[in-house]
Symmetry: D3
Subunit: 159 residues, 6 copies
Amino acid sequence: MTTGPTTEPTTGPTDLTTGPTHPTSDSTAETRQERFERGMEVLNRVDGESGQRVIDALADVNPELGHQVVAWGFGEIYNRPGLSPRDRQLVTLGMLTALGGCEPQLDVHINAALNVGLTSDEIAEALLHTAVYCGMPKAINATFVAKKVFGERGLLKDS
Amino acid sequence: MTTGPTTEPTTGPTDLTTGPTHPTSDSTAETRQERFERGMEVLNRVDGESGQRVIDALADVNPELGHQVVAWGFGEIYNRPGLSPRDRQLVTLGMLTALGGCEPQLDVHINAALNVGLTSDEIAEALLHTAVYCGMPKAINATFVAKKVFGERGLLKDS
Amino acid sequence: MTTGPTTEPTTGPTDLTTGPTHPTSDSTAETRQERFERGMEVLNRVDGESGQRVIDALADVNPELGHQVVAWGFGEIYNRPGLSPRDRQLVTLGMLTALGGCEPQLDVHINAALNVGLTSDEIAEALLHTAVYCGMPKAINATFVAKKVFGERGLLKDS
Amino acid sequence: MTTGPTTEPTTGPTDLTTGPTHPTSDSTAETRQERFERGMEVLNRVDGESGQRVIDALADVNPELGHQVVAWGFGEIYNRPGLSPRDRQLVTLGMLTALGGCEPQLDVHINAALNVGLTSDEIAEALLHTAVYCGMPKAINATFVAKKVFGERGLLKDS
Amino acid sequence: MTTGPTTEPTTGPTDLTTGPTHPTSDSTAETRQERFERGMEVLNRVDGESGQRVIDALADVNPELGHQVVAWGFGEIYNRPGLSPRDRQLVTLGMLTALGGCEPQLDVHINAALNVGLTSDEIAEALLHTAVYCGMPKAINATFVAKKVFGERGLLKDS
Amino acid sequence: MTTGPTTEPTTGPTDLTTGPTHPTSDSTAETRQERFERGMEVLNRVDGESGQRVIDALADVNPELGHQVVAWGFGEIYNRPGLSPRDRQLVTLGMLTALGGCEPQLDVHINAALNVGLTSDEIAEALLHTAVYCGMPKAINATFVAKKVFGERGLLKDS
């Protein structure tokens, strides 16, 4: 099988809150450039401008890393239908908090979490939950990134 | 100690797939023992027997740690209504994979993830997703714990 | 046992260098607010103003996380009599250095270490000791936080 | 699909000690299966049987993770000409030691390091070097994996 | 080579609970072998047989790593007078718990902690304290190593 | 024993790209100061000014840590002949990327990598390779340090 509905959804409209589009089938030949373009589309849907800025910043030092983030990370993995974008961001928030030292990526992905339907209260609750598994310092570090993002988007609580 | 609807839901039936019960209100006095019992109930719902076994094993070496896992981790945090049990397990799978060296906890929580409504395919997809953020070794280590749990529960694929 | 001396020490004067006060007994009912206030007292004794600033900064993004740091971390754990405040800071310096990426928490806890009786020479020696277990980069990163704190408190050596 | 020198080296003989083959050009369309086969070839050259066993073991729990390890990790990254296989294993030994908890991957990659031309003395020296940056515990843990692999391959010293 | 009080304490009797002996002065020339022997003496005082076993096991794979653990880790760092052996083990327990995946080293150092005067209750309390900073999984993993060591030394509680 | 070929190479000229000088023999007595001076020479060859700045900055807070970085890290380990300086930097780049939160050390060691003969393209390729094992966030964080260093040294690509 080479053509048909399998690849169409990747260029058609997607309801971001219900799930990603189907990946290309095993037998569809794609060029490296086509895979990159597919990933770029997913990246822009999920991360918005902040993802694009990371790719642009990599261009003069390690363009292949930027290519692989897009073509592989977003084109191959994020684009798979087995887990909704909202679910993927929950896993991602957990990972980035646990890894530590990933504040720039948390900034991108707390924005992404809001983009795909998580509320600021759900994100705060997820970061509270991380305290049980990662300890207070990492939970606090991640929460201060959320504070920055929520502040930029007018989502802070009246305290 | 006050009574009333605030604490009732913690002893009534809970639909585990839609969300946890409300925590006690600020003005409800509880004893340490009552908080432990509330946590025990949540622990048993989420983790089942494997959680109980961890608490039992801590009794002769560090009983206070077992108490705090139950009374605080489950009674105070897991029990909050802001995030569904399924969402909490997605965050938890991400954290435990990223931390590394937490294979015993992954065993408990892959079981928990199945208990609260995630399918084995969704868990495998979440662990595939971790490869992008944590790298292949941690994703593979977590997946081999899933292989053990899925095997015990008859959920492996025909390969 | 339900009333009396068990809880009194938490409101009476404490000799911070010899040990924390006794936690409440199992049968003493406390409200969430009472536990928070107990933790606030311990937090202020150990961390001073820098701890308070962290809690304040969490208020508009994740107030429950701030509550749990205080009510659980300080009210439940730090307040226990089994280990002196000085001993707890030695363990804490080791952990924060090893975790990596916890420079903000090291700032708070190097201050705390000085508050509970560790000298700047002992702290420097503890951070030298971390080089054996955590490697030079993490030992150096932690030591530069100590340099900042020692500088603020007039404790740097003439070099 | 285009032909020509760009893709030829991936199927021709390779001198493993001097460098990998060129990746496919941007304009060469490949199917998912073709990319997998290219990765499989690189995997077998570098990791030998132990890599194959990992992929086989993933088949009934997370076959897509096995596919991505091969098609992306080996087919896309390892296969690039910018760094020799020997150099890649030096970087990899450093990473796996630093990450911690990656003993199964160290087993595969200490074998791989020997396969691509590093001597057992160079590997031991590299692991000694990790003590400076990762601390003694991680250096020792990695070295005990080397002891197992060297023992299996008759490379231990007379002590 | 100079003689005198600077180096004498390293061969005289030491009260292990009050502090280590003075390191050699800057102007005392030592051979590599002398530094190793000094470290061996400290290692045996602190870690006992379990430390010796690690050094022996390194002999046929990475003897220089074993040498450096002894000559540098113990001869240069542990032997310094600025922090008592008991204090050093508190820092070490914190680090090894936080690093993760260092269960073999925790075994050695929970034994060491008991050797230098920490009680099993203090060790358990220190590991409870780690839950606040490292999260429950790492605190539990370290506690199960303590359970093994306490069991071997008849120090478990009646539960 | 004090003279002879064993120690001569440490004061003679060294071809930095082919390998380090021989360490002192077991039977050559050295003072602490001599070992420091030997390390300083290696440090200056490998890290250049940026290494010196770290040692200077440690002088008023933890001079012994600075001493040990030089005398042990560089004098004892880096100076050994078993692995070339270029090989050591490949291992080091892998470790520092994997550890996370070591951006200051990556700055020093990306400079060092260029000093000992790695090209900017090889460094970028090594950091791309880390994505497979450490995940995208750590690979990107390390690459942005490389971007800063390459920029300072006029090595960025036209993008």
